[in-house]
C-alpha cells in the first residue's frame, strides 16, 4: 500500500453513493430518537446512542472493506462463506434469544451471523458466477449457486427467521439473471416457490398449473424434462399443507395476513392498520418530530425496528418520504448502472448482489408499513434499530464501493 494507491482508491470512491447513505442514516437517527424517546422510560435515548455507536462501527467497517484489495475479496470469497456458514450452524446449538436462536453472545455484545451471511453469500455467488469458462447455458451449472443459497436458507428457517431466509433467495435470482442464465432456468427454479404459494387455494393452484403447462409446451425442452418438472411441481403443491403444519404459529399467521388482514386483528394486521393510520395522518408536512401520537399509541415493540418508516411518515410527512424514496431509488439505479459498467464480471455480480439485497429490504419493509406486503420482520437499511443489521448494511456499501474501484489484475 503506498500513497499513490490510496489516492487512486480515494479518487475511485463513488462519493455520491456514500453521501446518499449518510443522509439516509442521519434521517434514520432522527426518526429513531423520536421513536425511542417516549417508549424507553428511564433509559432515555439509550437505543439512540447505541445506534450511533453501531453506525460508527459500520462506517469503520465500510472503509476497511473499501480499502481491501479486490483480489483478496475475490480469493477469500469461498473461505468467508464457509466461516460464516459454520457460525450460522453453531447458532442452532449455541445461539441465544427467547424462542429462537439467532444471536451469538460474545461477552457484552450480541451479533447475528445470519446478517453477515447475506454478504458472504453475495461474495460466494459472485465468485462462482464470474468464474472463467463457466458455461451458463448448461443447467448443471445452476446446482452450485442453488446449493450455496439453500444451506443458509434452511438454517435460518430453522432459527426461525422467515424474513432472512427470503432475503437469501432474493439475492440469488437477480444474480443469476445478471449472469445471463437462460430465462427458462430461472422459471424452472422459481416454479416450486410459486407452486407452494398457490397451493393454499385450489383455484390459484389450478391457474398456476395451467401456466406451467403452457410455458413447458412452448419452451420446447426434452419431453422427459418437462414431465419431470410438471410432476415435481404438482406433488410439491400437494405436500405443501404438510409443510404448512410444521410452521410456527406466528409464521403461519404472518403468511395468512397476506390474504386477509382481518384474520389477526391483534397481531400483524392490526399493526399494519395502525401503521397506515399513522402514515396517513402525517399528511404533506408531517405532525412534527416527536409529535407523532399514532406511532407511539401502537405500543408496538417493533416501532423502532420494523416499523420505523411509519414514524417517518407520520412525523415528517409526504415531502420527506418522497425525498427518501427518491434517494433510495437513485442509490439502487446507480448501483445497477455501475453493475453493468463494472470492469470485471466479479465486480458486476457483487454490485448486483448488494443491489438486490438493499432493494429487497427497502421494498419489502416499506411496502409492509403501508399494507402492500405481509409483515415479515425485515428491517429497513440505515433506519431500523439493530447492530448487526446496521453494520452489515454499511459493510455491504463498502463492498459495492470496492467493487466499483480498481480492476482485478
Amino acid at each position: 500500500m503506498n500513497n499513490y494507491w490510496i489516492q487512486k482508491k480515494l479518487s475511485d470512491l463513488d462519493w455520491g453513493i456514500l453521501a446518499i447513505c449518510l443522509v439516509l442514516f442521519t434521517v434514520g437517527l432522527i426518526a429513531l430518537n423520536s421513536a425511542t424517546l417516549e417508549s424507553s422510560g428511564g433509559y432515555f435515548g439509550n437505543n439512540f446512542h447505541k445506534q450511533i455507536l453501531w453506525g460508527l462501527l459500520g462506517l469503520t467497517g465500510l472503509f476497511a472493506i473499501y480499502f481491501l484489495e479486490k483480489k483478496v475479496l475475490f480469493e477469500w470469497s469461498y473461505l468467508i462463506y464457509g466461516v460464516v456458514l459454520v457460525l450460522l450452524v453453531l447458532t442452532l446449538f449455541f445461539g441465544t434469544g427467547a424462542g429462537s436462536s439467532r444471536w451469538f453472545r460474545l461477552g457484552p455484545i450480541q451479533f447475528q451471523p445470519s446478517e453477515f451471511m447475506k454478504i458472504a453469500l453475495i461474495l460466494a455467488l459472485a465468485k462462482y458466477l464470474s468464474s472463467y469458462r463457466l458455461n451458463i447455458q448448461n443447467p448443471q451449472t445452476l446446482a452450485i449457486p442453488f446449493l450455496l443459497t439453500l444451506f443458509p436458507t434452511v438454517i435460518v428457517f430453522q432459527q426461525p427467521d422467515l424474513g432472512t431466509a427470503m432475503v437469501y433467495i432474493a439475492i440469488l435470482f437477480p444474480m443469476l439473471f445478471w449472469a445471463n442464465v437462460p430465462l427458462f432456468y430461472l422459471f424452472a427454479i422459481l416454479a416450486p416457490f410459486v407452486s407452494i404459494v398457490t397451493a393454499f387455494n385450489f383455484v390459484t393452484f389450478a391457474i398456476w398449473i395451467g401456466i406451467l403447462l403452457v410455458v413447458l409446451y412452448f419452451s420446447r425442452r426434452p419431453l422427459f424434462l418437462s414431465v419431470f418438472h410438471f410432476i415435481g411441481n404438482v406433488s410439491l403443491g400437494l405436500v405443501t399443507p404438510l409443510l404448512w403444519s410444521s410452521l410456527k404459529e406466528y409464521q403461519q399467521t404472518r403468511i395468512l395476513t397476506l390474504f386477509d388482514m382481518s384474520l389477526d386483528p391483534q397481531g400483524s394486521g392490526y399493526q399494519v392498520l395502525q401503521s397506515q393510520t399513522a402514515i396517513g395522518s402525517g399528511g404533506m408536512w408531517g405532525r412534527g418530530i416527536g409529535q407523532g401520537t399514532q406511532t407511539h399509541l401502537k405500543f408496538l415493540p417493533e416501532q423502532h425496528t420494523d416499523f420505523i418508516f411509519s414514524v417517518v411518515g407520520e412525523e415528517m410527512g409526504f415531502i420527506v418520504v418522497a425525498v427518501l424514496l427518491v434517494l433510495f431509488m437513485l442509490l439502487l439505479l446507480r448501483i445497477t448502472y455501475l453493475a453493468s459498467e463494472a470492469r470485471d464480471k466479479f465486480s458486476g455480480m457483487v454490485l448486483m448482489g448488494v443491489g438486490s439485497l438493499l432493494f429487497f429490504h427497502v421494498a419489502v419493509n416499506i411496502a409492509m408499513t403501508i399494507g402492500l406486503m405481509p409483515v415479515t420482520g425485515l428491517p429497513l437499511p440505515f433506519f431500523s434499530y439493530g447492530g448487526s443489521f446496521l453494520v452489515m448494511s454499511f459493510a455491504a456499501i463498502g463492498l459495492l464501493l470496492n467493487s466499483n474501484s480498481e480492476r482485478i489484475e
Binding site: E38, S39, G41, A98, P265, A278, Q294, H296, A322, K345
Partner: protein, 609 residues
C-alpha cells in the same frame, strides 16, 4: 480464474432498471394516496377516534400444596391506573386525583415515576379501591383524562404459611426484562410476570393469556365508548400448579423461627419432594399482590435483616461439624482406618506450633469412630483428616455433590464452595496453604460453604444409602383437559460407596440422637427412628451458626431435614430441638390423617389420568 468481461445484455439491464423504477413509483403512489389523498380520513381517525386497546390480564393459575390446600389464589380488585402521556398534558390531573384517593400528590407523582414503562403504557397507581372512592372517581371522570379504573385479578394468599421465598412475587416487565424476552412476543412492558420463586420458575405454566377490549378515545384522552366493529378478545386463565409442600407442616416449621434468622428444609429423599421450606425472616407477599407500592419495596430492600434473601437455597454457610461425616466416609471407603481405630482427645491437638482446640475443653478421652461422631470430637477428625488427605476428602465431598447446585426448581440457587487441591493452590498459592487449613476444613470451617438445601440433600443420600434426587417443589400442573401433567426430575444412585459405609455412618448418627453423650439428644423421638448430626460453625462476625441435619424413619416413611440458625450458638442446643419438633409434627400430622404415609390428594388425582 475470473472472467474479465462483464457483458450484460441491454435487455436485462433495462429490465432491472425498470423494476426498480416501477417499484418505487408504486410505493410513491401509495404514500401519495395515504398521505395526501386520504389524509383527512386518517387524520380524523387519528385525532378524534383513537382506538385505545384496553388489555385485561388473564388470571394466573392457582397454586396448591400436596393436599390441595390453596396457597395462592386470585382476587379481583379495582385498580387505578394512569397513562403518563395524557397525565403529563394536563397538569391539573394529579392534584385533582389526590382529592379522591388515599394518596398524596407526592405519592402519586412518585408512583408515576417509578412505574413508568413508556408514555402510553398504563402505570398502576393503587389497588383495592373501596366503593365510595370508585363512585367519586366515576363522578369526576371527565376531569381526569388519562386516569382509568379496571377490575384486575391480583394474587391473594389464603394460607397461614408465609412461604414468601418459595412462592415468589410478581412484578411488571421492565425494559431490561423486555430485552431478554422480546422475541417471545408474549409480553409487553408493564405486564405482570413471575419475578421470583415458583411464580417465576413456572411462569409459562401459570401465566394467563390477556384479553383485549377496544375503546374509542377522543383527542383529550377521554373514553367515548367501545369500538362497534371490534370484538373484544376474552382473557384466558393460566394452569393450576401443585406443589410438594405440606402447608400444615410448613406453617408449624415457620412458627419455630419466630425472631430467629435461618432456614429449615425437610424433604422426602426417595423422590426429592420438599415438604417444608423455611427461610427466615420472611416478608408479607401481599405487599406485592397488586400495584407495588414504591415505598414498601424500598423498606424491604433496606431492611438489614435481609428478609428478601432466600437463606434456604441461596444463603451459603460453613457447615461446621456436620461435615465430619464426609471425612469419616472417605476414611472408611479408602480403608484408611477401621471403625475401632481410636484417638485420645485431651481437648486440643497440636500441629507444629499451632494448637487446634476440641469444642469440649476437658477433652473426650479415648474415642473410636462411633464415639467421635456421637460426641462430635474435633481431635479425632483432626488426626483422621491428616491420614485421609485433601484429595480423598474432596473426592468424597464431590460424590455427594457439594459445590454444585442441587437443581431445585427455584430461579436462584447457590452452588456453595467445595475447595479441592487445585482450588487451594489457586487461592493461596501452591505453598501458601498448610495442613492447618485442612484441619479446619474437616470440621466444616475455613473455605467450605454449603446451603441448607444441600445439607438436606446430603442427609437424604445417607438415609437412602446412595439415592441422589433433585430436590423440588413443583409436582404437577393441570392441563387444559383437566388432567394432571407431572414434572420429571432426574434421580441417580451413587455406586461408588460400600453399603457398610452407610451403615457405619448411620450408626454414628443414631448415637448422636440416642447415645448418652449424643450432641443431638434434643431431637430424640421415642416412637421413631431418628439419625442426626449437629454442627456449630464458628463465624468471625459474631455468634456461631447452629446446624442440624437429620433423618426420620417412621412406619416406612423416610424424611431428611436440615436446620440452620444464623448466629444461633451451638447446633445441639438450638438447631436440634427445632428439627426435633418439626419431625415430631410430621409424625403427628401423619397420625391425624388416618395414618396415610404421604398425603394422598395428588396421588389420587394422578391415578385418575
Amino acid at each position: 480464474m475470473i472472467s474479465k468481461d462483464n457483458i450484460v445484455s441491454q435487455g436485462r439491464l433495462v429490465t432491472v432498471l425498470g423494476m426498480v423504477i416501477v417499484t418505487f413509483l408504486v410505493l410513491m403512489i401509495r404514500f401519495y394516496d395515504l398521505q395526501i389523498y386520504q389524509h383527512q380520513k386518517f387524520a380524523s381517525r387519528a385525532e378524534a377516534n383513537r382506538i385505545r386497546e384496553v388489555a385485561h390480564p388473564g388470571p394466573r393459575g392457582l397454586i396448591m400444596d400436596r393436599l390441595g390446600n390453596l396457597l395462592v389464589d386470585n382476587r379481583f380488585t379495582y385498580m387505578l391506573s394512569a397513562i403518563p402521556w395524557e397525565v403529563r398534558r394536563s397538569p391539573e390531573v394529579i392534584p385533582e386525583l389526590a382529592q379522591y384517593v388515599d394518596m398524596s400528590r407526592d405519592e402519586l407523582r412518585l408512583q408515576l415515576q417509578e412505574g413508568y414503562r413508556g408514555a402510553f403504557i398504563p402505570v398502576r397507581l393503587t389497588s383495592g379501591l373501596t366503593f365510595p372512592t370508585i363512585s367519586r372517581l366515576e363522578e369526576h371522570r371527565l376531569d381526569l383524562p388519562g386516569i382509568f379504573l379496571s377490575n384486575d385479578p391480583i394474587r391473594f394468599y389464603p394460607s397461614e404459611a408465609s412461604l414468601a421465598h418459595v412462592l415468589g412475587y410478581l412484578r411488571e416487565v421492565d425494559e431490561r426484562e423486555m430485552n431478554r424476552i422480546r422475541r417471545s412476543g408474549k409480553y409487553q412492558l408493564g405486564d405482570l410476570m413471575g419475578w421470583s420463586g415458583i411464580e417465576r420458575q413456572y411462569e409459562q405454566v401459570l401465566r394467563g393469556k390477556k384479553g383485549y377490549e377496544y375503546v374509542q378515545v377522543n383527542a383529550s384522552g377521554q373514553e367515548i365508548g367501545p369500538v362497534p366493529d371490534k370484538e373484544p378478545v376474552l382473557p384466558h386463565p393460566g394452569s393450576n400448579l401443585y406443589l410438594s409442600l405440606d402447608v400444615e407442616l410448613q406453617t408449624y416449621a415457620e412458627s419455630m423461627f419466630d425472631t430467629l434468622r435461618g432456614a429449615a428444609v425437610m424433604m422426602n429423599p426417595e423422590n426429592g419432594e420438599i415438604l417444608s421450606f423455611v427461610s427466615s425472616p420472611s416478608y408479607n407477599l401481599s405487599v406485592f399482590s397488586g400495584a407495588i407500592n414504591a415505598s414498601d419495596w424500598h423498606t424491604l430492600q433496606a431492611d438489614t435483616t435481609r428478609p428478601l434473601f432466600n437463606r434456604g437455597a441461596v444463603g451459603t454457610y460453613p457447615p461446621g461439624s456436620t461435615f465430619k461425616l464426609v471425612t469419616a466416609i472417605a476414611a472408611l471407603e479408602e480403608d484408611i482406618v477401621p471403625t475401632d481405630w481410636t484417638v485420645n482427645c485431651p481437648g486440643y491437638y497440636r500441629l507444629g506450633r499451632r494448637v487446634f482446640k476440641c469444642w469440649r475443653e476437658g477433652g473426650h478421652g479415648r474415642v473410636d469412630m462411633y464415639d467421635a461422631i456421637e460426641q462430635s470430637c474435633n481431635v479425632y477428625f483432626y488426626q483422621l483428616i491428616r491420614k485421609v488427605g485433601i484429595d480423598n476428602w474432596a473426592k468424597y465431598a464431590g460424590i455427594f455433590q457439594f459445590g454444585e447446585r442441587t437443581g431445585v426448581d427455584l430461579p436462584e440457587e447457590s452452588a456453595g464452595l467445595l475447595p479441592d487441591r487445585q482450588w487451594m493452590d489457586n487461592r493461596y498459592g501452591e505453598r501458601g496453604w498448610s495442613e492447618g487449613h485442612l484441619l479446619n476444613m474437616t470440621v466444616g470451617q475455613g473455605n467450605v460453604l454449603t446451603t441448607p438445601l444441600q445439607m438436606a440433600k446430603f442427609a437424604g443420600i445417607l438415609a437412602t444409602a446412595g439415592k441422589v434426587v433433585t430436590p423440588h417443589i413443583g409436582v404437577a400442573y393441570e392441563t387444559e383437559g383437566g388432567y394432571l401433567e407431572k414434572f420429571e426430575y432426574p434421580t441417580s444412585r451413587i455406586t461408588a460407596l460400600d453399603s457398610s459405609t452407610y451403615k457405619t455412618v448411620l450408626e454414628g448418627m443414631y448415637r448422636v440422637i440416642n447415645g448418652d453423650h449424643g450432641t443431638g439428644r434434643w431431637a430424640r423421638i421415642p416412637s421413631a427412628l431418628v439419625f442426626g448430626k449437629t454442627g456449630t460453625a464458628q463465624n468471625p462476625h459474631g455468634e456461631s451458626h447452629a446446624w442440624f441435619i437429620g433423618i426420620l424413619k417412621y412406619k416406612g416413611d423416610i424424611q431428611a431435614i436440615a436446620v440452620l440458625i444464623e448466629n444461633g450458638g451451638s447446633g445441639g442446643s438450638i438447631a436440634a430441638p427445632i428439627a426435633g419438633k418439626i419431625m415430631r409434627k410430621s409424625i403427628e400430622l401423619r397420625e391425624s390423617r388416618n395414618n396415610t404415609a404421604i398425603p394422598t390428594m395428588l396421588s389420587e388425582k394422578l391415578g385418575n389420568e
